[in-house]
Amino acid sequence: MLEVNRVRAGYGAINVLWDLSLTIREGEVTAIIGPNGAGKTTLLRAIMGLIPLSQGDIALHGDSLAGRQTWSIARHGISLIPEGRLVFRDMTVEDNLTMGAFPNSRRAGVAHNLARVYELFPRLAERRRQLAGALSGGEAQMVAIGRGLMAEPSVLLVDEPSLGLAPVMVQEIFGILERLKAEGRTIVLVEQNTHLALSLADHVHLMQAGRLLLSEPAPRVDLQRLHDLYFAR
């Protein structure tokens, strides 16, 4: 459903993605793994239009997203749950979640979706009136995920959800991702923690230096080979 076709993108004069192509299939969890600096986050930013493509195209359900503004792509049904959370620190938890439903077509479902998010994350229900800036890292990650779900996206992009979290919290977050997978959602998971990513994924892409090194269904992945490729220079 989401097609990345020979995409080249980067930051100013520094190019990061080199003619990258991949396909995200509906209802699957696609894991994108790779070492630091491989361009995983850059790929997600390019999909969301936060950085421009210098070449190639990205299409959702056949509609090209290239050249479109980030807010228009978000309204089109792609939600990015950003690395480092990026919550609205000076707003309450509930206002943060509500902003996820900003697009006109999503506003009618606010009450229903809020209730769903609070059911997924009971901890956020307890803290709904607190400022998001006062939350722990794990709670902020929950806000970011909940906020992403408020838009009822057709594709959920999740960037390094385990980054900087305590192991218990990582387990909890992956438990939630597990549930979202069971609901049949389309998820793209960028993760450095290979084991966690493999435990959840239907399909695995390994990136290095802005290119795809490996692209396989998760059950066929040979861990030894994956690690050799991962650490190869």
Binding site: M48, L50, Q69, T70, W71, S72, A74, R75, S79, L80, P82, L86, V87, F88, R89, D90, M91, D95, T98, M99, G100, F102, P103, R107, G133, R147, A151
Partner: protein
């Protein structure tokens, strides 16, 4: 002596209403765009002169001129926004130069159209005395103070409950994250300029109705609004309200106890004193920014 001090506290409180409206507009635009609109006081001044023309040419009560002020000032605010939004690099710094220049242009346009004469309202109804126990004021001061409170309340409701108000806060909190929510920051910036224009319109008519206006006033108002915004701790709405009243009271106490020549200086002294004791402003306290 006690009555004099009480009276100047009261007058300061009343003038603080208009100051608060001006400062809230400045703070709102600063929040969404991270720019300080140095032409903001001139927009207020423009509203004041619209009220003057409406009264002297068409015999309208200043209160009735508010809709006209709204149209003209909001259109000017949009124009300022369109110019500022053309800045591509280093917007924070370059916008200072641009809006400073726009302020000078507006001041001189006012000078050409309305001349340098000092103007004030001739409405007897607005200038009637209102007595509240031992305290005196003009009716206009009370009317516009109540109106300012209502507008500040409306702004608070808008920022905390409406979709666009919350979007304005989201953009000021984290621009990239706001875009990811499907919020168009350009439209949000425009909205914040228009809302600042609405606040400036009412403040301008208030100042015309309860005080005297002349073309150089715009600049002084920008400085007052800036002082209040920084006093408040940038981004704090209760801080702005308190800061505005504090500035009003300081000015009126200075006039009562010392000399009206020191009025402008008093604001600056207050500004330095507060920042010396509380570098983050009154309400900026423990907040972490970023």
């Amino acid at each position: 002596m006690t009555e004099l001090i009480l009276q100047s506290l009261y007058s300061g409180l009343l003038v603080g209403g208009a100051y608060a409206l001006i400062a809230l507009g400045l703070a709102l635009v600063f929040g969404t765009m991270k720019i300080i609109n140095l032409a903001h006081g001139e927009l207020v001044l423009l509203a004041a002169y619209v009220a003057y023309t409406a009264e002297s040419q068409f015999g309208l009560n200043p209160l009735a001129s508010i809709p006209f002020a709204l149209v003209i000032v909001c259109a000017s605010a949009v124009l300022v926004y369109l110019l500022v939004s053309r800045i591509r690099v280093n917007r924070e710094l370059n916008s200072l130069i641009l809006t400073f220049g726009l302020g000078i242009i507006l001041t001189n346009a006012v000078l050409i159209v309305w001349s340098a004469n000092i103007r004030s309202t001739s409405s007897a109804w607005l200038q009637d005395a209102v007595v509240l126990g031992p305290l005196f004021s003009m009716r206009s001061e009370v009317v516009f103070f109540v109106l300012s409170l209502a507008l500040a309340g409306g702004l608070w409701w808008w920022l905390s409950r409406s979709w666009y108000g919350r979007a304005v806060r989201a953009v000021s909190s984290n621009r990239d994250a706001a875009k990811l929510m499907g919020i168009d920051p350009v439209r949000t910036e425009l909205v914040s300029f228009v809302v600042a224009g609405v606040l400036a319109s009412v403040a301008g008519v208030a100042i015309y109705s309860s005080s005297v206006i002349q073309p150089a006033l715009g600049h002084a108002l920008t400085i007052k609004a800036f002082i209040i915004t920084v006093l408040a701790g940038i981004g704090s709405m209760p801080g702005v309200l308190l800061g505005a009243v504090l500035l009003g009271v300081t000015e009126s106490l200075t006039v009562t106890l010392a000399s009206s020549a020191l009025q402008e200086l008093a604001g600056m002294v207050l500004f330095l004193l507060v920042l010396f004791v509380m570098p983050n402003g009154l309400f900026g306290g423990a907040r972490r920014r970023g």
